[in-house]
Every structure is written in C-alpha cells, then in structure tokens.
Assembly symmetry: C2
C-alpha cells in the first residue's frame, strides 16, 4: 500500500477527553474516529488490526471444532423475556419498537437466541458435543462508555456456545475452549494471565478470565511468579497461616495508650514508634451488611477483600459504615475502633490470630490498646477476609505472588442448565430420557483487544504492535525528494516483499524525514526500513524494529528475503 | 468437514409461508433459520456462502483501489437530521432512545456518516480521488419483509462511497466501480444484466443496476439479444417508428359498430373477427394525474409505461381512473373509451400514428369505431408512452430485445454534491477555492445475493451452487455401512483434497444411499463423488456434477488431482 493513497489521517493532538494511551494513540494514528459517545468508526488501519485479531480467533475456534454461524442483532423481545433478561438487563439493553409497535432490542449477547436454535434443532445426545460461535457487533448501553475501544456501546465480540449431554461433556468442551484461548492469546502476541473470576450474573459455576496485562487496566489481579496460578484480587485465596502455636509466655499485659488524633495505621505507627510496624497492628473496619453492622479485623498491612466478606455474610455487597454508624457502634470517633470489648459481630482474618501483643483501637476516642492478642483479649469468627498482597505465598506452589493490572480480553464459563431449563432446550439421552442440554459460553472482546494491545504495547512516541496483529508488517521510508533513487528502490522492494506475502506500507509521501519518522513511530509498524541516498550508494538499507533502541544496516542485495525472514521470525 | 459433526439441520418440508424457491431451499438445506419477521440466522453453511460472496466483493473493491473501513450501526440522530433523512426515511428507519433519552437510529445506509468523516478529514483536492467502503449489517424496517433473505429487515450490504474534486473525477470513479462490479458478478458465477435504472430517491444523476436474472425476480427488465443494451422496463426507450408516410389513398371511411359487452382488446378482436389483430386497435386508457384526467393511447398490443407517462405529465405517479371517473370523462361505461371526439387531453404513442383504419372505442357504451386514423379522425400530443415489448428493436443495435425478470444485486450511483452541499463537505482546489466534494455511492446486497444465486440456480431437488460461492466445492458420499472400505477411502480422499486446497464435505453418516443423495442434491454442492464397494473393486469412483444429468467413472488412482482440476476449471 502506498501511504499517499491510503486513508491514514494522523493528527498531532488527540481531543482532551482522551486520556488512556490506547484512546489517544488510536485517534492520533488515524485508526479510529468517534461518531458518538462509545460509538466509533474503525478507519482502514484500525479495521485491519481488528480483522487480524478476528482471523486468529476464527482459525483457533475452527481448529477446536467450533462452527461459525451468524445470529441477528435485531431481536424480538420474546427470547429475552423467556430468560428474564428483558427486564434483567435494565437500561443496558437498547430497546426499540418496529413500525407495527412490536418490541425489539439489540443483542448484547446471544445465550437465549442460540438456546432457541438448539432447542429447535437438537433432539438426541448423538448431535452433541456441539460448539457454535459468531463474530458480531454487540450493543450495550454502558452507563459510562469511555476510553475509546475499551468500553464501547457498539463493539465486536466473538461469542461461542457449547452444548453437551452432561456435566462431564461440558467440562471437556470448556477445557477445549480454554486451550484454544491460550493459543489465541499467545498468537496475538499479548502477555496475559488466566484468572479464576467471580462468575457474576451469568449463573455459571466454573469460569475464568483471560486478562491482558496493562498498567492502566481496570482489573487488579495476582499471579504467581513461577507457576500458572493467577486470580482476580477479589477472589484470590490467601494462604492460611499454620495454627498459632503456644506463645503464652511471650504475652505482655494489655495497656491503654493515649494516641491523640492518630487514626490511621500509619499515624499510629509513627506516633507510637518503638519499632512498631503495620503488621503489628490490627486494622478494624466497621461494615454495613444488609441491616447488620459487623467489624472486620485484618492485619495492619492488609486490606479487607469486600467481595469475600460479602459472600461470607451472605449479602450482595458490603459497604463501609458511615461516621455516625461507627460512633454508634464503637462509642468513639472513627479511627479508634478495635475488637476488644466490641459488642457486635466480629470477623477476624486468620493472619490476625498470629499477631501477639498487637496494637488495636480502644473504642475510645484518641486511644489505642497495646499488647492485644486474639484468644486472650478478644474472640471472633475466624475467616479469610483479607485481600491478597504482593509477595504473598502462591496457594499452589508457595512462590511469591505478584500484583498486576489487567484488562479482560476473554471470559469462559460453564453455564450448566441455567438457560436450557428456562427455555426448555432438551434432548433424549441413550435411554430415551429427556434432559436439559448442558451449556458453556465463551467470549472474546475483539474490538476491545485492539485497544488492549495498544495499552500493553506503546511508548511515548506511539504504538508498538505485536507482529501478528500489526496493520502492516513493514514500513518502507524512502528519504529525499519524491521520485529519486530511494523512492525507486523502495517501489521495487515493496513489490518484492508483497510477492513474498509481506504486508508493506510504503511512505511515498513528499515529506521531510522527521515527519515520516514521527508518523512511523506513531503508527507502530513493527519493522521500518529506511532508504537513504548515502546508504544506497554503499548498497545498504537501515532496518529498525519499532521496539528496539538501535537500528542496523542490511545489504540491499537480498533485502526482501532478509526482511521477510524477520517477519516470519516475529510471528513464530 | 465431516457431515456427522457439521451443523446442517436439513428438513423435508419448509414452513408453508415460504414460497420462493430460495426461501424454501435455504430453509430446507439448513442454510438459514428465521428468528423474527425479516430476521434470519445464517447457519454455518449459509454463512460460508455469504462469506465467499463478501470475499469476492472485497477482493475486487481492494483491487479497484477502494479502502475498507467500518462505520457504526448505532447512529446518533444528528447526522440524518442534517440531510433531512431522519424524517425522510419515514417508518423504514428503526429509531431508538438510549438510557439518557438521546435519539438514535440503526444505519439503513451511510451517506451521512461517511460525508461527516470526509468533511472532517479531507481538506485538499490532493487527498482525492478517495473510495471508502464497508461490509456491514444494515437495518430497514421494511413494510413487507418476505422471501427469506431476499427482503430482510437486517441484511448484509457492501456500501462504497467515492469522493472526487469534480464531475469528471466522479465519472471516472463511477466507471472504475462499474468495471469492478462486472468482475464481481462474473466471478460470482451469476447471469446478470446491467440496466439503466430510475435513480429514485437517492438524488443521483447517473446510475445503473446490476440485475441478476431469475424467473421469480421482482423487476422486469429488457435486454438486447446481441449487444450490451439493457434497461429496466419502466425506463426502457422504445424505438420511434419513422414518420408515417402518406397513405391517404388507403384510408376507409370511419364507421360506428355495435360491440355489445366487448370491452377488452381480445374481446373486440374476437367479436369483430375478419382478420383484426390487436396491433390494428387503439388501446385508450383514462388516467388520473394529480387533479387532471388524461387519455393515454397505445397500440392494442402494447402497454402503457406509467413511469414515463407520469414523468411526461410532471407528476409523481399516475393511476388508472375509477369507473365513475371513466363514465364522467367518456359518457360511456368502461371499455369503450377512444380518442375520437374525446374532449380532454390525449397523449398518443407514436406507434398509434402508424395504424391506419384502426378500431377504437366510440365513447358510447357497447360501441366501437372502425377505420379510425390519427390526423384525420383525431389529434393528440404524440409522445413515447408505451412499454417496451419482447421482440422490439434494440435502440442501440436494432437486434430484437428480450424480456427478463431480475433481482437487483447491485446499484451504482453518481450522487454529485447532494450530500456534500447539505453537510458542508468541502475541499480547496488547486486555486484555493472551496468547493463541495463530488460523491458517488455503490451498493451490493451481499446477503440478498445468497438467495438470488439460489433463485437463479436450482431445480426441483435442491440448490445448484456456482462453484465460486458453494459452501463446499466437493461432496464425498461413501456408500454402505460406516467404517467399511468406501468410508476409509473417502477419509483418505478427503485429506488429499483438503491438502490441494479443495473444500470438501464428507458425508460420513451411517445413512442409506437414498438419504445421502437426497441431502446432497438439496445442499447443492457442485461436485459429488460417490464411493461404492463395487466401483472401488475396479478402482473407480463415480463423479457427478450437480448441474449435469449424467455421472462418469474416474480412476481412484489420481482421483484427488482429477477432482481438484475440475474445481479449478469451474472457477476459471
């Protein structure tokens, strides 16, 4: 492709409301344009990237035995009504009426539609396992669309659905998809972790997220530095310390100390001094959980995992108590709560039971207690309620854990019979018994991955595409006046590379080298070849990888083969 | 692909409301399923066909220098409001509100959206010519969705838009697209004609339709049997006969005859007898045109072209007058109108002026006039208002014309500055003058072509796909109990063919030959290879083309190469 004829409207500055790097760089590089809030145009370069991602997804889905079909976007109300999601989706569902007043909505996901197809067409266990997928625009009226392609109202998704005769079959289908997802994310060239996820509203029992690592990711995850363990911070297990051994001889007598205005862990540590560290303290937080008020105690250096706490208490969510409620519960100003003498329900993280002679709030304004020890000075229900921390032991292999930020790129679920029972999708088993189909569902946010790849792969100058999903693999940059020798050589090289199957963007514009280099860095094509008059005289070209600091000179003779080999290498 | 694992739910009977062959056969063959009125699922086979069509379209668009992008489906009101089409599209536009109450609609076509993109990004004549296209689901709330994929409310369309600095450039862009469309329709393997079309509501000045010939097509077209002339019947020119020569000596005196109850041309011909033929009569029809009533006279064997008549009269449309209005205008019952003595406006087709001693209505119930001749017995405005007939002379080469039915598969337009002026999409020309961009637009109904191809290519047993768009190119049908020698040989042949790049469907089901052959004919795979134990003993396979009456035996040795060569041949 010749740059001069390509529609690549690069710009120097992105609009002010674009803050995430992917949003800024995709706008600046002429990959996308906004049409409305959370609604984007994919310009030629952006579409090329998205198509490459979709193509890898399709190859691996087909290879895993899934079959592609295409369901509609415009859906009559009746299907979602059967599952309860016509109401359940709330205002995220985009609803509309047709000319006859019939109720319709745009497809946000297609469990009901595929279940309807399957209940019409599947009669026997012999027709399963079956895995059907599509690659299609989905529509969700997000409350806060933002960050360009990261959270859109119209986005491209690959959604697959598996159908099996029993749980064992469903588990096998799930595992086949998990393996296919590993191949997909590896081939995309993205660093990712597979994490156990909270299955949320989908009603599934087994699920995992494919999290693409990125500094600005909205999800906090933890992963082992040596084995494959990884989990969403919200559901990550913490290693329970061994039962506290008998340390009675080390225990000191409890005493109350005056700690004026020292409310936070750090303030108390610095006020009391004398070698006190956060891990020697008990952090006591008052939560509202439904109508009840409970105290959650974790070690001073730990945080409460509110998802686990809520699950333990059997409520949808917990929330930190208001100042007024804290005063009511502890008879002290906020910042001085502690488990000793607290009259309400107390949940104690196991790590707290190991701290001897701890410092805790005294339930008295401006006072703390020293030498507090679980069992002697206070009791409570012991349960893992702390959030995992960097350096914690891996629950699988005991190596240290590391915290990451991630962006969800894929999600796999075993749905079980949630939809098939509601919608009466049954089959006859070998004995002629009618049973509900056992389902799984498997999503990949294809358009979101375009932005996600940029979040993971960029620098101050622009994008650094992984070779597998770059809009072009090689950029040729002839230097000098248009039509001169560098341009002629570049044209020849362009055609030679194209003949070798390499995707080339030839910057044939009559621009200064600085402009060309700036655009090249912004676009992020993985390999750049610079053709200058001086180098050509010596039979040399300059080759630079976008993610390398230095460039190298390669001989013009055989340059096409050399470059094609580099491309192949990067794809392997 | 193994049939036993493929999702191909064939059925014996289509639902009763399916009447068009493509609708019936695509349902029966497991290509599509209905989700709602005018809303379909494309099952794996159907999607394969659609993707093949889309792929040919994309290759030729790219080859013609167009660049693919992807605009959104969910569109804020503002763009269509600028062009006036928010109202103009009427109830065909699917409108909806988002969670904040903002007005949106689904994209029925994208002139406004692309014009908005271009007005933001195009500044100079140097950035043109530019041709941008997309392949995308479109949404139109058709008043009468019908015939499966032929008229859907959600359908896949390729829409391209060209941008030029002047009319000459736009014409060139239009011609490049016309040539690309010829390559597309040829490669699809469809018989088609390019017809000049009424440009309708799009506001264009030059346009053409690519009509795929099909018995049940909704459009009537006429095409030359020797040159490339073709036109929609509604706009087809008729050859004006030479000026009537002087035949005064042949004229007989006019006389009134009693023709009780003989109202139609045929009734009068048969009542009067004596060698009278329809071409010796004058057909006089009373039309309402706005507030006026006019008489249109054509030869007895001709029909009035109402589109031409309306255009001549300067009205949107004409309609046949009611019986009451006819009585009022002619003072006779319907069936006896004629130009002689008619007091209103009379339009006379030139062919009528050549009929000497014609029979015409007498404007008196149960009476006609004999020996009526234009010029002597009546006058009127002479204008071409008849519809073209089979056998008429081609206006380009004088060969006989033939009538066809067709289905519109593609449409190309020069839009001019219709949208660019309304939406202020301007550029600076070489002199620095700001001018509106000159546009063209070019559509292909991709999903519609799936059904159109079936309309043109089927028989009583099923579909007969052209090789280029068949879901699979070859079907292997081993006969006998599963696992026997024919199945083993078929498996080997399947893999050999796949290695040669041939798309194979292997019917590995344990079904009787009759079932397999019936399904094979229904699915319409172009080449079927039957593997039977007897033939294999003699080292022979049976090869049958779906559109051939007979089969032939080919040697098993080298069969893959033989079959692959046949596929290649059919694609050439």
């Amino acid at each position: 492709m010749r740059y001069s004829r390509a529609f690549i409207p690069t710009v120097k500055e992105a609009p002010k409301d674009a803050t995430m790097p992917s949003h800024v760089l995709l706008l600046r590089g002429g990959y996308i344009r906004m049409v409305g809030a959370g609604i984007y145009e994919l310009l030629p370069l952006g579409l090329r990237v998205m198509n490459k991602i979709a193509s890898i997804v399709r190859q691996e889905m087909d290879g895993a035995g899934a079959q592609e079909l295409l369901m509609p976007t415009l859906l009559p109300k009746e299907y979602f009504e059967e599952s309860g999601r016509w109401e359940g989706f709330g205002s995220t569902l985009l609803r509309l009426k047709d000319r006859k007043g019939g109720d319709y909505h745009l497809g946000p996901t297609h469990e009901e539609i595929i279940t309807d197809l399957v209940r019409r067409e599947i009669r026997s266990y012999k027709q399963m396992p079956l895995n059907l997928y599509q690659v299609q625009m989905k529509f969700r009226d997000e409350p806060r669309p933002r960050a360009g392609l990261l959270r859109c109202r119209e986005f491209l998704m690959k959604d697959a659905y598996s159908f099996d005769a029993d749980e064992a079959g469903a588990t096998k289908s799930y595992e086949i998809m998990r393996d296919a997802y590993h191949r997909i994310f590896s081939r995309l060239g993205l660093e990712y972790r597979v994490v156990s996820a909270d299955s949320g509203a989908m009603g599934g029992s087994t699920s995992a997220e494919f999290q693409v690592l990125a500094q600005n990711g909205e999800d906090a995850i933890v992963a082992c530095t040596s084995c494959d363990y990884a989990a969403n911070v919200e559901v990550a297990e913490t290693v329970v310390p061994d039962a506290a051994s008998d340390h009675e001889s080390d225990l000191l007598p409890m005493e109350k100390v005056h700690t004026p205005k020292a409310k936070t862990i750090d303030e108390v540590v610095s006020f009391l001094g004398g070698g006190l560290r956060p891990e020697g303290m008990i952090k006591s937080l008052i939560y509202g959980a439904g109508d009840a008020v409970v105290m959650a105690c974790v070690r001073g250096d730990h945080d409460v995992n509110e998802v686990r706490l809520a699950r333990l208490l059997g409520v949808e969510e917990v929330f930190l108590a208001s100042d007024a409620d804290i005063v009511k519960a502890t008879r002290a100003k906020p910042g001085f709560a502690g488990p000793v003498g607290f009259s309400g329900r107390v949940i104690v993280d196991p790590d707290v039971t190991h701290v001897l002679n701890a410092v805790a709030g005294a339930n008295e304004t401006d006072h703390h207690l020293k030498n507090v020890t679980f069992g002697r000075d206070f009791e409570g229900e012991v349960a893992q309620i702390r959030q995992v921390s960097e350096g914690d032991e891996c629950p699988k292999c005991s190596s240290p854990l590391k915290l990451y930020r991630g962006i969800e790129g894929g999600h796999i679920f075993i749905l079980g019979t949630h939809y098939s029972e509601k919608m009466n999708a049954t089959f006859l088993d070998e004995q002629g018994t009618s049973l509900p189909v056992v389902m799984g569902c498997y999503g990949i946010g294809v358009s979101r991955l375009v932005a996600t790849a940029v979040e993971q792969n960029h620098d101050d100058d622009g994008i650094r595409w992984p070779m597998a999903i770059a809009p072009y693999q090689v950029m040729l940059t002839p230097i000098g006046k248009g039509g001169g020798e560098p341009f002629e050589v570049a044209e020849t090289l362009h055609d030679e590379l194209a003949a070798l199957g390499v995707e080339v963007l030839l910057d044939d514009r009559n621009e200064r080298p600085g402009v060309k280099f700036k655009d090249a860095d912004l676009l992020g094509i993985p390999l750049r070849v610079t053709l200058g008059a001086r180098g050509l005289k010596e039979g040399q070209l300059e080759l630079k990888a976008r993610d390398a600091a230095d460039n190298e000179m390669i001989p013009l003779e055989g340059a096409a083969a050399t470059i094609a080999a580099r491309v192949k290498e990067a794809l392997a």
